[in-house]
Structure formats: C-alpha cells, structure tokens
Symmetry: C2
Amino acid sequence: MIGRLCVIGVGLIGGSIAKAARTRGLCREIVGVDADAANLARALELGVIDAGYPEIAPGLDGTDWVLIATPVGAFEPVLAAIRTSWSADAVYTDVGSTKQSVIAAARRVFGEVPVNFVPGHPIAGAEKSGVEAAKDDLYTGRRVILTPTTNTDEQALRRVEAFWQALGARVTRMDPAHHDEVLAATSHLPHVLAYALVHMLGRKDEQQEIFQYAAGGFRDFTRIASSDPTMWLDICLANREQIVPLLAQLSGELGRVADLLETGAADELFDYFAEARGARQRYLDQSEKQP
Amino acid sequence: MIGRLCVIGVGLIGGSIAKAARTRGLCREIVGVDADAANLARALELGVIDAGYPEIAPGLDGTDWVLIATPVGAFEPVLAAIRTSWSADAVYTDVGSTKQSVIAAARRVFGEVPVNFVPGHPIAGAEKSGVEAAKDDLYTGRRVILTPTTNTDEQALRRVEAFWQALGARVTRMDPAHHDEVLAATSHLPHVLAYALVHMLGRKDEQQEIFQYAAGGFRDFTRIASSDPTMWLDICLANREQIVPLLAQLSGELGRVADLLETGAADELFDYFAEARGARQRYLDQSEKQP
C-alpha cells in the first residue's frame, strides 16, 4: 500500500487517477500539486486530494509515490524540481503522451534516467480538461503502456504495473520509440487532422455559415478538435519527428483520392473506400474482443 | 394526405421516411421498390411497406407521391424508368446527397426538370445501411434542404415542405450549387478524410498492430469510415468538382501544420489549435441553439 501519493498536475488525468486510487483504497493519503490555484482549490473541495500545494518541493514532503501528470512540455522543470528531494525508496512514474521526450528530459536533468522512475502512458483521455472532469473509472479496462529504459529497476516497474492493474487497467511494456511511433499514428495524427479540418472549415463558416448544415457525423468526427490546445501543442512538438512524416503521407493519400476522383476511377475508388471500411471493422472487432 | 406513397430504395433513409410517414399518419398506403430482394422482403416483414416490387414500373401504379431514395449514381436510370408513367398530379421528390448531379440527371431524362419534381436532401444519416437500421425519428429536429430550380412549381414545393415539417424536420430552401458547396465541406470532405486516414492506418496495422492501442477518440473520429462505400462512391463522384479543391486545400493546411512543427513555432501552433477549438465551440453552440 502507498502511504502518501503526490499527484503533480491535478487535471483530468491526474485527478482521475487520484480518485481511482482512493476508491480502490490503494493509498492512505493523497496530496496534489497544481500551479492553477482555482483548479487546486476545486480538487480540494471535491475531495480528490487531502492537501494541495502550488509548488512542487513542499508537496513532495513525506511522499513515497510520485505521479507526474503535467503536460509533457513541463517535464524538464518538474523533474528538476523533484531532483533535490529524490528518494531511492520512493516510486516515480508519469502519464505523458510521448515517451522519448520524457526520457530525454530525465536524462538532461539526472544524467541517466533514475532506476526508480518508470515512464508510462495510460491510453484514455477526453476532450474535457481540469479536475472537474475527473472520473474514478477513466482507466477501467483501458490500456496502459509502460516504457522502461535499460536501467529501470524491475521491482519499481512491477510496482507500477500492479498499481495500474489495481485500477482495472491492462498493462503492456513497450520500447519508448515504438510507443511514440504507434501513438503518432492512432492519436497524434488524428488530433492534428481534426484541428486542421476544423480550422479550415471555421474560416469558411465565417464567410458563409456552413456549420448549421453539418450533420451528426460531423460532431463525432470533430470531437477531438475540442481537446486542450496546451496539452496538444506539447505532445505535437515532443513527437514531431514521428508526426511530420505521417502528415506528408496523409497528404499523399488525399492526393491519390483526388486523382481517382478526377479520372472518375469508380472501381478503384470503391475498393479504396471498402478497404478503409474493412480496416475500421478490424479495429472494432479488436476493441470488442478486449475485456 | 397522401394516398399511396412509393419509396424507391427502401434502405436506411427511404425506410426511415416510410416509418415516420406511417407513424404520423401522413399516408394511407406505402409501397416500396428495391432491387435487393432480401432487403425488400425484410421491409415487408418489418411492416415498413405494405407492398414491395423489385422493379419501378409496377410500383408506381396508382401512387400520388414518389420518393427517390437510391444512391445518387442510380438517378438517371431511375428517372428514365419513372418517365413513362410521370403524372402531373403526383409529387416527386428525392433525398440525394448531391443536388446539381440530380438536377443534371433530370435534365438529361426530361429535357427540363419537371415542375412537380422537388429536389431535396435531409441532413441526417448513419454509418449503418439497409431497412433494418431505419428509425421513425431519424429526421426529428434535423435539417432538410430543398433545392428548387427556376421552374419548380411553388405548390409542389410547399407540399414537400409541409411533408418534412410533419416529420419534425426544419426545412430550408437553397440554391443547388450552394448546397453542393456547403455539403462538400461539412460532409463529403470529412467522409473522404476518414476513409483516407483509416486506409493509411489499416496498412500500418497489418504491419505492426497499431489499432489495439487506439483510444476512444479514435473510435469517434473514424466512425464515418464505416459508411456504405457504394453510397459514398456515388456522392464523391457526383460532387467531385467541389471535393477535389477542398482536398488540395486541406493538404495545404496539413503542410502548414507540418511547417510549424518543423520550425518549432510554438506560439503559432498554439493559436492554430486554439482557433480550431474555438471554431468547433461555435459549431456546438449553434447545434445546441437548434430546437
């Protein structure tokens, strides 16, 4: 059992983990650190945390488990602030959406990634943000990817695995580079695409009010364009080496469809759409197989 | 009140209109025409239609209201088949997703668009297809766009308006070219985009199983890639003059984001994402204002 859990960044994700840890009785006490005073006060009011601190150093006092849940762009200063009180007996982990950037930040701060820091990424989120949106079942049945480095302590890794499993998540270990490649395709690219489409259509809407004629499919398709811009700026910059080539590849796909349309290549276009539908069905079948 | 309504194409859309017309007591009898024998049999079993015909000519006998709900690619042969029994006393309308192509098909068959043919487009659908998926409330609170030509009879136009209003829809009149421009942006482009993204990621998934790490946002974002390929092939070919330039414009947007990522232009990228989020909020606010 964890004695005192410190959650750095008590937003949707940090708040949901705190709530879930409390519901499942995984720790005696939970403290939160958040630079946003209103959000921190709300986290206290909601009982998500037992004590709140605007700065990291006092929040770490007496903690044996530290969860970093800030946007990934803030990791280097966060790790630097933790460094002075780093304890060999505590477990440190994070929930950053990109893993190579987090590991690189740790190397810059510590020289080498500390053996008791276990980089992780729970694959669930929402377009909402802030502790108000936190839910204690956000991770039930969801996947969590842990990306240990070569010097990660196996004991610390197993404790973080057990923590997530106790929250109802399904844990996978993965190479950090492979994590970033996979997530660029399934998460980062779709977010950039949704932002780009809505950005473009928003300008058209200002000129001729197109949004009022958008159907229900448009609402679903653009939902992720309502995601927190700060968080996604960080993710996209941190993983740009993976994302930029995918954007070029997607432009190539769009060009291919445009060619098929212009030449009226009905059979090829039908096959193209049908293959895409088949691929999505494969994705759905996989999701449904999951417990 | 309509005496005998003939629905040509008893799929999701035609079937939903038939169900809604029956629930609201708008007609005494509903007959259906469908080339898909299994779908036609199911429409009869479900009581969506009172009689079913595999061919158009016998289905039209004694009807005073004809609704064309086939994929838009089939309109020219459908109109040609209706032509021999065209009645000046009946009302003819359609639900095709592109309007200029429908009007052009009518001109090819009749020389000029008949005064009692009212081109229309109810803006609602689903990724499901077939009469099994039909629902009698599919159009409640939804928009329907009617695109009369200069020689459309005002009386026929008002009757079609009243029909949709009785189904709970909100009816707008629009120029056919403007309809195609607006729908290309809010509906056709997103569908092509979803197909293209899933097509590209489907190939990656075959190589390295990325779909199992896709989060909930991915499911919503790709939902429209499960739409019927036959229907969307027709729509995209019919409206390709509008869609192709939008694809080029979107590739330009993706190139711009890629440039901002490569140069690490954090402020511009934040503004870009924040503007997109703001535009989607404007869309949501509009949707919620609607009754």
